[in-house]
Symmetry: C2
Amino acid sequence: MNGADSLCDTLLANDIDVCFANPGTSEMHFVAALDRKPRMRCVLGLFEGVVTGAADGYARMAGKPAATLLHLGPGLGNALANLHNAKRARTPMVNVVGDHATYHVQYDAPLTSDVEAVARPMSHWVGRIEDAASLSARAGEAIRVARRAPGNIATLILPADAAWTDLPDGAPAPAAVPLEGPKAPDAQAIRAAADAIRSGQTTLLLLGGTALHGRALAAAGRIAHATGVRLACETSNRRVERGITRTPLPRLPYPVDMAVAFLRDVRHLVLIGASRPVAFFAYPGKPSLMAPEGCGIQSMASVEHDLDHALEWLAEELGIASDAPQIQGPVLDSSDIPQSGRLTSAAVNRIVAHLLPEHAIVCDESITQGRELSTFGMSARPHDWLQLTGGAIGIGLPMAAGAAIACPERKVVTLQADGSGMYTVQALWTQAREQLDCVTVVYANRTYATLHGEMKNVGVQQMGENARRMLDLDNPSLDWVHLARGMGVEAVRVETVEDFTRALRGAFGRKGPYLIEALI
Amino acid sequence: MNGADSLCDTLLANDIDVCFANPGTSEMHFVAALDRKPRMRCVLGLFEGVVTGAADGYARMAGKPAATLLHLGPGLGNALANLHNAKRARTPMVNVVGDHATYHVQYDAPLTSDVEAVARPMSHWVGRIEDAASLSARAGEAIRVARRAPGNIATLILPADAAWTDLPDGAPAPAAVPLEGPKAPDAQAIRAAADAIRSGQTTLLLLGGTALHGRALAAAGRIAHATGVRLACETSNRRVERGITRTPLPRLPYPVDMAVAFLRDVRHLVLIGASRPVAFFAYPGKPSLMAPEGCGIQSMASVEHDLDHALEWLAEELGIASDAPQIQGPVLDSSDIPQSGRLTSAAVNRIVAHLLPEHAIVCDESITQGRELSTFGMSARPHDWLQLTGGAIGIGLPMAAGAAIACPERKVVTLQADGSGMYTVQALWTQAREQLDCVTVVYANRTYATLHGEMKNVGVQQMGENARRMLDLDNPSLDWVHLARGMGVEAVRVETVEDFTRALRGAFGRKGPYLIEALI
């Protein structure tokens, strides 16, 4: 047994049995070891952003980390954008990054770089394996950190010789690492939240992290029903359980002016696994902090706390029975569903909400065009809603691949802005290779619509040729049907409500990857 | 005039008039400023690896840096792999990376990260702009470092508020920064090299950097002709002037065993802008250093020296007249050019060498499949040969776009391995958008052939399903014709020598981007 075998066994002993990989020469022994472990499911990505985006989507749905396999500093560099998103989502992930053999680093071969330095900005923990003998212990440390609630990015650097060296006799056997659960909630913080709710002044519970699903979300719904307290979720969330029967959570709007208006009347802002509301970007003359002056902000529990317990405790503190009714979301009026005509993003959003299959997983990178779905989604059949958490675009298609691997029995629906989709378009190939049940709707507006808006937000009113050419995706237009087919995914382009509805029904009625380019 | 205007003007005052860009919200004022400077050519990439790869290709051919425009830490992360290649090539480049407004960073908005930390591993210099008033001076520093011979990666972090703030009265006007030329060669080192050549023992001049073209290369050819000294270039080179009439430079082989054999008889290894030969990777039982024991290694001049002067001085030291004859390369035997049959990589290489237009720029990311072109290329019509310098795959298509923008009158030919091409496949769209005269030949072997070889090199003989699925690009096969059309590039697939020859002749006979998928 060599170091690479030991690493695989340590991962498997800790129930990490999916490895998203884009390996290179320095990782060949690890690949050979994976080959000897049929229990480990290896999923190839043709670009490293696919690998980390898929590992993020997987962990959000599986509730446990995947491993990734990346090649040296540049491979890790390609992985950083989606690692940033995963770090912001507090997704658990164990990255295995190959490096040159320890004795080879000194020669500064062309692919040499400071792997630790590349890893650090987007990792919660970075460790280097010293040798084969200490490998399993170090890997255990990475796994322990990654799984510490609610999750962390642990990056483990694996020198080639540590992988290929045989373990010395008596080296410790790969072992399971104890799980570290979430922190216990704080009684005083919960009483303070209850006091705010009882004050009679407008109070908003801003939920994040694990408060967005399961018992925590149900408790929040009971609290809102019994007390009339407002609920909301942050702008960007790891995973929200949404749809009719679930507690509806309005989303804090992205545009600063809208967010300020959303929060205007709030006197007590109670953070439960959420951060205080901050503008995504700074704009001349607009605030960075969006809560009104005089609004008290209190943190009832952080993302690291047991939020199921925290919200149930709060309900109890408020005297609300565990079988008390929850608030209900709006019902989608079927007269709101367009039946014909030219396709628009509004039509796409309504039709998606209307047709969404029960228990679908929605991977939402629709950016500007899908914002209304924050509302319509509440009325759809129950589903999970996974969002872009860190603002680093290019997560939709990979996240869908990962989510589909975690939940093979569920339909995964990706709402994908065209500009953002191009950053990790290679994920379509992984969807085809693994025959994942992923339906992608591309909002083909052929522009970086966000940036058009942002030009105005930052005070630029007029736009000339140089700017327009940097903000529009025209001339030539992208052809998503060709792109998808180039990677083995069936696809269709639609321009009308009728064709979109038909295509979406068709896609939902079959299995396997499919892409609909919605010209809007 | 605001800070963004001042930055644009500083770039233009230093003859940096191309900006490869993938901007985001925090860079909107810079985009608006670019808009007011029609002299600045703005080129959009749909992914940041395209941006830095294109800036690398541009600078290699233009002999001066381009600017890049990138969005915060994650955008820079996506750019790192090709920055690594450019850093290894010592390509000059000025990266402008937007960041949050200075006062906004403290709020840790979702896209916040440590931009300096992301930049440092792949930059020679990193600087942050403090405010609009000091912006131009700081930008001047970046430009000075970037252009210091032979070139450096300078990364300048631009907070949004420094860009949008108006300059105070009396702020210094954007100014030209003095160019810092290469270092003067060292007389003693040149005499030592001459002594080695005169010793009668086998001597090899290993050339790199600016010794691979122009006067330096010609002088090397005269020296080799007069003295019989061996010449070679490194495995990976920034830019080689190659083809008949040019001094032929055998390339140090990539595989360790072949490199060791190549160097076996050498007693004096003279480095001229090159590094000592080091294995690309370490392998169990194979050496890291590839020169034989007892071989003296001397550095006559580094990449930072004036290599034109150094080699002409060496010739003079050896008493060789400036009009003495140079060695000549092999002539391609037309009977070596296949006329028909199933296409193979060997056939592709020979036909490309045979048909290559004069003064073409070859962007070579053919990896395993194009290795023979190191030899055949010497017999082709005179051309420039740009290679993958840092081993971070995914540079071919972007580098071609940049080279074509630097040299619009020349045909750019990209020799592209299929696996590597997928990392920055978005570059095809930039080729279409800018209507660049780029012909891409995809070596479609549908596998990571390097890794198959490396599995054996690291001692893995047997390969099972998990490994095969990580090394092969099949099931589904990529369809490069669809991929290219999806991004507006005309394309054709060929499987026979006849069809490839016809397609390549056709592509060389027209203008504009074109892709040939060569099934081999």
